[in-house]
């Protein structure tokens, strides 16, 4: 797995889903070639590789057909390189728990941030923030159960859920700042707040976390392509 050109990632620097895959690749010390996609002008390769969703990230591995959807990509990486930095736990029940919370994070938790970004009316914003408070309560409980007193969902070491949720910390912080909110509030969710600090300072994630200019620029694009609700 040392050959750099064997693995190629199509992505965009600001996307937390792309950061997620990069976090996993870095943890597993997998070298890869990265191609930045411009979402306003998607490449032929991207459209051909992901005709169903036309989205990043897309993983290209040697001569295999493309693999899409970040969680699926990460499970694939774990399968092809299980020995170095295993992300999913070995026990079936623990794996099911990881997949359950990963689905919750992508299908229920993160969409709230897109909703908030696109909601202009104050009443709507407050309702979404209430849902965020509920969601982080659940995630705090899940973290406490999963971490067993250690620093990460995965225990002493970063695991699957740390990667799945960790990639959102910077994005969430940006949306929080724009909306006078604090998702990882130290009083409301003390353990999750500590975790957010730990995971975002992990070298494997820090090295791919977008800077403020990248985020602001991307949010500008989103404002055009996925504008606020009328």
């Amino acid at each position: 797995m040392g050959n750099e050109s064997e693995i190629r990632l199509l992505g965009t620097a600001a996307s937390p889903f792309v950061n997620r895959v990069q976090f996993a690749l870095n943890l597993k010390s997998i070298k890869y070639e990265y191609t930045e996609e411009y979402l306003a002008r998607k490449s032929e390769l991207l459209l051909k590789s992901n005709p169903v969703h036309k989205k990043v990230p897309v993983l290209l591995h040697a001569d295999k057909p493309p693999i899409c959807e970040s969680q699926i990509i990460i499970e694939y990486l774990d399968e092809i390189q299980p020995d170095l930095f295993q992300l999913l736990p070995s026990a079936s029940l623990d794996r099911a728990n990881c997949r359950f919370w990963a689905a919750y994070i992508d299908n229920k938790f993160f969409p709230l941030y897109e909703e908030l970004r696109r909601t202009t009316k104050k009443a709507g914003q407050e309702a979404i923030k209430e849902q965020m408070i509920e969601a982080t309560k659940l995630l705090e409980e899940a973290f406490v159960k999963s971490s067993n007193g250690k620093a990460y969902f995965g225990g002493d070491q970063v695991g699957y859920l740390d990667v799945v949720l960790g990639c959102f910390v910077r994005w969430i912080k940006h949306v929080d700042e724009l909306n006078d909110f604090n998702t990882f509030d130290e009083v409301r969710v003390p353990e999750l707040a500590k975790w957010a600090k730990n995971v975002s300072s992990h070298e494997a994630l820090k090295s791919v976390t977008p800077g403020i200019e990248t985020l602001v620029s991307f949010f500008g694009l989103l404002h055009i392509y996925k504008p606020p609700y009328q």
Binding site: V52, I72, L93
Partner: protein, 217 residues
């Protein structure tokens, strides 16, 4: 210790059915606990506090929720006929299509049912169906899983049985035979699998239920 397997579900639920098919593939004995969705049991609320939904599998007291998570768990936890492919790439492909069915296809076809077959809704549902038709065409196999059913077939089961019942209830056609010949053939093959046949609900009660659900009394 004797193994204890319970399934909290609702007879007729396509999601509950996925789990029953998976359990049957592995030959696992289980207790079926019928839930009244208007009066959910304290156990269900305890086992699935996040969504409070069926199906929930309880294995030796440990609850697992979300049908696709449960099906993968069943494949992980028990030996026997495989439900997931062995090859890492094929596994990724199976998960991709399962996700597509649940996140893109079923919501699109459901929208077409809710609108009683609004033209735009049928068009959008057809667009999603075309991806599945192409997948069958390209692979040229009997099932999404090849010679045997896998996770994708189990998830796509909605098309094979529930969609048809909803179409009958509403008097509309979304999965057109002419437009989707491979899918039509697949539906026939899928519903004729013993392990599927044994677990399908009675069609008449499902049609009646859909007439009520989509307001076509």
């Amino acid at each position: 210790m004797a193994e204890e397997v319970k399934l909290h579900s609702f007879r007729g639920s396509p999601y509950g059915c996925r789990v029953e098919i998976a359990l049957n593939i592995k030959g696992i004995k289980y207790d079926f606990i019928q839930e009244d969705l208007n009066n959910k049991s304290p156990d269900l609320l305890k086992y699935n506090p996040v969504y409070k939904k069926i199906p929930v599998l309880v294995h030796n007291g440990n609850p697992i929720s979300e049908s696709v998570v449960i099906v993968e768990y069943i494949d992980d936890a028990w030996k026997g006929a495989p439900i997931m492919p062995v090859d890492a790439y094929e596994k990724a492909r199976a998960r991709f299509w399962a996700k597509f069915i649940d996140e893109k296809f079923i919501p699109a076809i459901f929208k077409a049912f809710v609108s009683h077959g609004e033209e735009q809704d049928i068009l959008e549902a057809n667009e999603q169906l075309q991806f599945l038709e192409n997948e069958l065409k390209v692979k040229g196999n009997k099932f999404f899983g090849g010679d045997n059913i896998n996770l994708v077939d189990i998830c796509a089961g909605y098309i094979a049985f529930w969609a048809g019942a909803a179409e009958e209830a509403l008097g509309i056609e979304v999965v057109t035979r002419d437009k989707f010949p491979k899918l039509t053939e697949w539906c026939h093959n899928y519903t004729n699998c013993q392990v599927v046949k044994d677990n399908l609900p009675p069609r008449e009660s499902l049609v009646a239920y859909y007439k009520w659900l989509f307001g076509k009394e």
